[in-house]
């Protein structure tokens, strides 16, 4: 990662910067390496601070990262001459990548406009979302072990961040549903009505508190809907003829240092929102295989395989990492206490 946030003054170059209609300005710096600098603003013209900017060398694939300063400025310097794609990778919409060519010794000015008002609410703005998925500082050391010698997964964990996800292939009915959701501004997402959204063991948004005993793993999830999950570790299987539920029935067993959790019995009524911004429907045939590992004190890895022949043409897997949230506790969220949004949600 190479970056230096800051501002380049064109006066120092003693040259006049010429701007094109695309707001890319060229000047001639003294150094041999090229550079790209600019400012990130939101759709209203206000500076966006603390956001990740990425410059990808399109011939080598090398990715350079920068973070915008308090005034929204960013800088990539000492870039080799070549073609770069500059983007705001943490934004989900409205910030199309910009393709630029950096020549030897050239300082390129490129302002970036983020066009996503949905990341601009007090308390839920871009810095909040960026911080939520960014790695947190974590304590160092080995994972704690239980008296039985197993890794102890207990702890309060920040929301999982997706580090890998396989391509998802859905049946035509599911594709049609997803298109309908998009056309309707996702107004019917279950969480808007204080119902569970998401199916994975670790909730995708708030904190997750795991409490592990030899026979039971409990997840107290901080979510819009009070969310507790039980994973039975006492050797039992799934009950026969289960009544389908929103969160399914989970049993787990250890294989070495990996806890493998099998979850069945879903009612198919929620949305798979664990992969946000991609979301998927599913049926009561959904079966999750979850692998939990604590490779060290500060990290919890979750690998979830989604298998639903009623929705997907093949199973697919998502990998996440959660950071230990030292000093944090899961807070109470009673979604129905003042949910005023429902009657104001507008589709197409």
């Amino acid at each position: 990662m190479r970056y230096k946030p800051g501002i380049i003054s064109f006066v120092s170059f003693g040259k006049i910067a010429i701007c094109t209609l695309l707001a890319a300005c060229f000047a001639f710096p003294q150094s041999n390496g090229g550079s790209i600098t600019g400012k990130v603003t939101d759709q209203d013209g206000a500076a966006v601070s603390g956001i990740s900017i990425q410059a990808k060398d399109t011939s080598t694939g090398t990715i350079y990262k920068a973070t915008s300063s308090g005034s929204g400025d960013y800088k990539f310097d000492a870039l080799a001459a070549g073609s770069y794609q500059v983007s705001l990778p943490t934004l989900v919409v409205g910030a199309p990548p910009q393709n630029v060519v950096v020549q030897v010794g050239q300082a390129l000015h490129l302002d970036l406009r983020a066009r996503d008002a949905s990341l601009n609410t007090l308390g839920e703005d871009r810095s909040f979302f960026a911080a939520r998925v960014a790695p947190h500082p974590t304590p160092k050391g080995p994972a704690p072990r239980t008296p039985e010698g197993r890794p102890d997964l207990s702890g309060t964990w920040w929301a999982p961040r997706i580090v890998a996800r396989e391509e998802v292939s859905v049946l035509p009915w599911a594709a049609a549903v997803i298109r309908e959701w998009a056309a309707n501004n996702a107004k019917d997402i279950p969480s808007a009505r204080c119902l569970p959204s998401g199916v994975a063991l670790l909730h995708y948004f708030g904190l997750n508190k795991l409490v592990q005993t030899p026979t039971l793993l409990v997840n107290i999830g901080e979510a819009d809907v009070a969310s507790s999950r039980q994973v039975f570790l006492d050797g039992r299987g799934h009950p026969k003829d289960m009544d389908p539920t929103w969160r399914g029935h989970s049993v787990g067993k250890w294989e070495g240092d990996t806890l493998i959790v099998d979850t069945n019995g879903f009612n198919g009524k929620s949305w798979i929102a664990d992969t946000i911004p991609a979301v998927f429907p599913y049926t009561d045939k959904l079966h999750l295989t979850t692998r939990l590992r604590r490779p060290d004190l500060g990290h919890l890895e979750m690998e979830v395989t989604f298998d639903d022949p009623g929705t997907f043409t093949k199973s697919w897997t998502m990998k996440t990492v959660s950071d230990l949230a030292e000093g944090e506790e899961v807070q109470e969220i009673i979604c129905t206490e003042n949910n005023q949004d429902v009657e104001h949600l507008v589709g197409k």
Partner: protein, 136 residues
């Protein structure tokens, strides 16, 4: 893109929408239209799923309308250093935000500035000027 069998390979198909923990912003608020309101805080609700505050806005004729503004959840706000006392009844404020799509006197708050120019919910004062007021 489609495979030969006609099945849809799905990437980020729903990227337009879901950023809020609770509901899709775009289903409720008009992100293309930033407005500004000037008024007096009449109520603060430090509740889930969204903390809210209400202000009385007076138009040119003197008529008063009460507007309802939505923020993140108290849990999120608290973790970012704000408290239920960050905004008080009686505060004279300017709010920049995005209005409700259905015409209700509701909006999603983007920025709140006190009469002395300090930005509420922000550590550093700002002299940012609000957009032209647009009362309804």
């Amino acid at each position: 893109m489609k495979t030969k069998a006609g099945f849809l390979i799905v990437g980020f198909l729903l990227s337009v929408v879901v950023a809020s923990a609770h509901h899709a912003f775009n289903a409720e608020f008009d992100g293309s239209k930033v407005m500004s309101w000037v008024g007096t805080v009449t109520k603060v609700e430090w509740t889930n799923p969204h903390a809210r505050f209400y202000i009385d806005v007076k138009d040119a004729s003197g008529a008063v309308t009460n507007w309802n503004f939505e923020m993140g959840s108290p849990v999120q706000l608290r973790r970012q250093g704000w408290t239920r006392d960050s905004l008080k009844v009686g505060d004279q404020i300017t709010v920049d935000g995005y209005p409700a799509k259905d015409g209700a006197k509701m909006a999603s708050a983007k920025k709140v500035i006190l009469a002395d120019g300090h930005s509420v919910f922000s550590e550093t004062p700002t002299d940012a000027q609000p957009a032209d007021s647009n009362h309804q």
